[in-house]
């Protein structure tokens, strides 16, 4: 089984570069168990056709994921999710996460979601995520 195409959705109105949307969604799928270590990702061509995005955009997303250590390319076989022990140091991981949190903080500011509501939402999403991971592992 490979990661389902249905997990991936492009939103041109998000203002985020298309390849980064793919990077984020595949990283999320990897972190939440939507795709597991050693499982293949869709090949570039069918994924590009399915999403109707430029082949180079998918290739760029996969190259980015490879440089982040999320996936590895085995020549002639395709791209696979790597062991989840992240090659990044703790501080590097926190730096990546800080950037993402900053984006959410700015969005919350614009939407006038105050500190308490924001923190409550973060907690709720964390709970939700952990519940999903648990369900996944229970199903194995």
């Amino acid at each position: 089984m490979s990661v389902s195409f249905m997990l991936l959705q492009i939103d041109f109105k998000s203002g985020k570069p298309v390849y980064l949307q793919l990077v984020d969604q595949i990283r999320y799928a990897a972190a939440s168990g939507g795709v597991r270590t050693g499982e293949p990702l869709p090949s570039i061509r069918p994924l590009a056709e399915e999403l109707r995005v430029n082949r180079n955009t998918v290739a760029k997303a996969y190259a980015e994921l490879e440089s982040q250590g999320v996936i590895e390319t085995i020549p002639g076989k395709g791209c696979f999710l790597k062991e989840s022990n992240s090659p990044f140091t703790k501080s590097a991981r926190q730096k990546i996460l800080t950037k993402e949190i900053d984006e959410a903080v700015v969005a919350a500011h614009h939407l006038q979601v105050d500190r308490d509501a924001f923190l409550a939402l973060v907690k709720e999403r964390l709970d939700n995520f952990e519940r999903k991971v648990k369900e996944k592992s229970n199903n194995d």
Partner: protein, 301 residues
């Protein structure tokens, strides 16, 4: 060829028909491996530009270079490396689908028969069918097969999907992505003029909007979607005297306001927030919306 040589380079191109300036000082550059969108209203000069690239028309002034070559002087060298699908395709009516493809292949040094057979079956074309009996969609599919099988470095598409049904349009675009772009990855260049911008949205790396023969806007697609944003705000009372400098357009209807931001969405959002809106949303414009909005750029310029 030097890898930095642009695939298409147009500088200050002009072409008149009598008193009409169809193309009037147009410049643009298409780099290798990109999918370049060429957007414009009817009569903006898109087809005239494309015909200058293919030496079907001669420019009055300025230059058009393809693969770094002059299409007038090196017509065969240029044409042997590209393929062209116009909006109206015509074939010899007495030839069958197979005859037509064999005829097209006879002009080419290279022809990928595997792709030919794949696409014929994908499009459910009957090789024995006479081309005069094909529907408009089938004729376009046949033209696309003829354009892709030589595996050219450059694919020039002029309104390729206009007048086709949605399923044929979708297949057309998937074929360009799959069968064309996947060979020789990163080296296949597409230059597409189209009105159906939303369908090509995911394919476009960079685009030019042409108006009255001039370049109105050239941008990378991701950068353009970052720059042009639509802000919607709802207030508890109809807001009076909203001061929104630098907004491309402001529409107000009662308590709701819609604002088009041109690279200044952050400042505009701050301004609006100071008025304590009940709701505030911000989203990027699609390329099609940017195309429609681009006429406002001209007015404000």
């Amino acid at each position: 060829m030097n890898t930095d040589t642009p695939i298409i380079e147009i500088q200050n191109l002009s072409r008149r028909y009598g008193n009409l300036d169809a193309v009037n000082g147009l410049s643009l550059t298409v780099r290798v491996g990109k999918c370049y969108g060429f957007f414009g209203r009817n009569g903006a000069g898109k087809t005239t530009t494309i015909k200058c690239l293919l030496n079907l028309l001669r420019p009055d002034s300025g230059t058009a270079r393809v693969f770094g070559l002059d299409p007038q002087k090196d017509e065969v060298a240029v044409k042997s490396r590209l393929a062209y699908v116009p909006d109206m395709v015509a074939f010899y009516p007495w030839m069958t689908v197979r005859d037509t493809l064999e005829y097209l292949a006879s002009f080419r040094k290279h022809w990928n028969s595997d792709i030919e057979n794949d696409l014929i079956s994908r499009f459910h074309l009957d090789p024995k069918q006479k081309s005069s009996h094909l529907s408009k969609g089938q004729r376009t599919q046949l033209a696309l097969i003829g354009a892709i099988c030589p595996e050219p470095e450059l694919l020039v598409l002029d309104e390729p999907t206009s007048g086709l049904d949605p399923i044929v349009r979708r297949e057309f675009i998937e074929t360009v992505i799959g069968a064309y772009q996947s060979g020789d990855p990163g080296r296949r260049t597409v230059f597409v003029s189209t009105h159906l911008i939303s369908e090509f949205e995911g394919l476009i790396d960079e685009f030019t909007i042409i108006e009255q023969g001039r370049n109105l806007l050239t941008m990378e697609a991701d950068a353009a979607r970052d720059r042009f944003r639509k802000i919607r705000a709802r207030f508890s009372q109809p807001p009076a005297q909203l001061d929104l400098p630098g907004a491309l357009n402001v529409k107000q209807s009662g308590r709701e306001v819609e604002i088009l931001a041109d690279g200044n969405s952050e400042q505009l959002l701050e301004k609006l927030k100071a008025r304590s809106p009940e709701e505030l949303r911000c989203e990027s414009l699609s390329l099609e919306e940017i195309f429609i909005t681009s006429s406002l750029l001209k007015q404000s310029a």
